[in-house]
Subunit: 189 residues, 4 copies
């Protein structure tokens, strides 16, 4: 993790999907921001990083976590143009905002990827409510560990005592593959 | 989630494993406590709840989360006696403290299980640094969601700015199943 | 794989579950026999070997594969007595016949395990329609590979042309996580 | 499963990858042929059907199973042109021959897909050594079930007694997550 007191620099996006207006990191102050840098033909992005980002968006999008995809193509550009990306986002049912990292003239690496010195895809960045980079990871992430960092960043500046709920599961009868239930048990006090 | 301003009542344990002295919930003030109530022959306990508890212990045991197993046998008592449990803990390499919920005379449900009104096994309870029950769940838990609650509870009363690190992964060359690397890329700023 | 022209020696079982009469290998001639040697407190047996045996029983039990469990306890005998095994089989919903490998006086290894020179648990043995050992494996097995061997053994002595069916899946509309459907497509010729 | 005494009709391919000459189904007589019909932006194809085809190719490609990919694009054609497919096959490390299903003028469905009346992607077809369609499946396939059919088709016309081996695993000491070993145990007879 690279902590820094500096505000993290903006992305540079040439085209947005899943949003009707251009987004700026500065506009997301007060929220925890998860940026998922990916390429649509990167196997690790497709198999775990994007499903994880989608899950964070579904579970915590309404609770203060803004999930942003960044299409940082640094190889095989002709096969991953915005039109193909649009089809990809549709087929993979990705609903959170996705920006195309702006090409950098004379370089295969796009602008934001170079500015942020990303090592490749998938890269996951966590930016706190004050706009500072608080965690960065290249490759797969354990969900329990990601959750703990998200919980800590969500807690900053929030009043104590409002932990996210763990939904109660419906009680089953006797034993199944998931649980063994006490017949007629009540709820915990 | 059942929040409560009351301090959560103590367990009643007849025998401890993996600790050389009896533990009390009151002695764990200042730590977040995860109690995993299980039975050694409950399939859901073995397949996901105990592996999850073990993972929390390994990753966050040294960072303020006390993981405690509670063997709450409410059926087939003769097949799950303390001696069999000892073998089970050995074979499954469970290293965190495990207490045997004290039998309650005239009842198949043991003392703590009745006192806490647990619905069955596995049941996961999260108790905050002040000793209050903050989350309770019967059945399987999503690790991302558990992580967020743990992160929030860990943050309470802690100074801001020390989120748990996401370990940086070794950079790979070009694409593999996990990542696509930018050749010669540096670390993020 | 150890192939042999010899008929494989019988098991020696002191107690049977899930069958109302004692079984002999010799009585299963004409069927392919899968023997799963396990211990109820062996993690690998519980997590993959027994679920795999249960799946073979469910899918191919009526098509010529006899699945037999063999409880080969060679350590911690007092924690894995027949009464505990009975509870275990009930909780894990194991319905195929399970025999307790007969104790061998003066040895911690039971009779059949010694006779068959098994290396430990889980061990999977495949015996052909003529009673010969055709495959043996200690540890986890890839299901695709197991399937191919089962298919080959099932084919021996059977008339050609009756391959097991791959069940047709219900057609979905457009794309979901599983499939992309052609609107209004018919069945393959 | 659609069995038929007729020889299954040929594919019509406009472009091949991973082979230096055009392939015909007729040239593969004597082998079991697994055809995987897919689209590069179909999530189910990427997450399970292509990994499964790759596994069959790796494990059984040298033992009489010819694995052939067929890129049957019936939607979003502009995003899945042969150049993009070439990048996709490279990134996903697909080494078996892949043909592009020939476009059919005036139709979004390509030629072979229409000829074979496929319902969508992924579709898996198994063709026996005599060139007849023996199994067809739209959607995900259980690997154990696929293995059994492959084993049966491989057995046809082959001499009995040469079942594919289940590789022996290295013995471990005592118990780990996979196995419990008998100290000093020999190999099975």
């Amino acid at each position: 993790m690279q902590t820094s007191d500096r505000v993290f620099p903006e992305w540079d996006v040439s085209h947005w999907f899943n949003t009707d207006h251009a987004l700026r990191l500065a506009d997301l102050r007060g929220q925890v921001v998860l940026v998922e840098a990916f390429q649509m033909l990167c196997p690790g992005c497709v198999s775990f990083a994007l499903p994880m980002a989608r899950k964070v968006h579904q579970l915590f999008g309404a609770q203060g976590v803004a999930v942003i995809g960044l299409h940082t193509v640094f190889e095989h550009h002709s096969a991953m143009q915005p039109h193909a990306l649009e089809v990809f986002l549709h087929e993979y049912q990705i609903r959170f905002p996705v920006g195309v990292d702006a090409p950098l003239e004379g370089s295969s690496t796009p602008t934001t990827m170079a500015r942020w010195q990303l090592q490749g895809t998938p890269s996951t960045l966590l930016i706190d409510k004050a706009g500072r980079l608080r965690a960065h990871h290249f490759g797969s992430i354990d969900e329990l560990q990601l959750g703990v960092v998200l919980g800590q960043l969500l807690s900053e500046g929030a009043p104590s005592g409002d932990a996210a709920p763990l939904p109660d599961e419906a009680s089953s009868s006797v034993c199944d593959e998931q649980t063994c239930a006490v017949p007629g048990a009540g709820k915990p006090s």
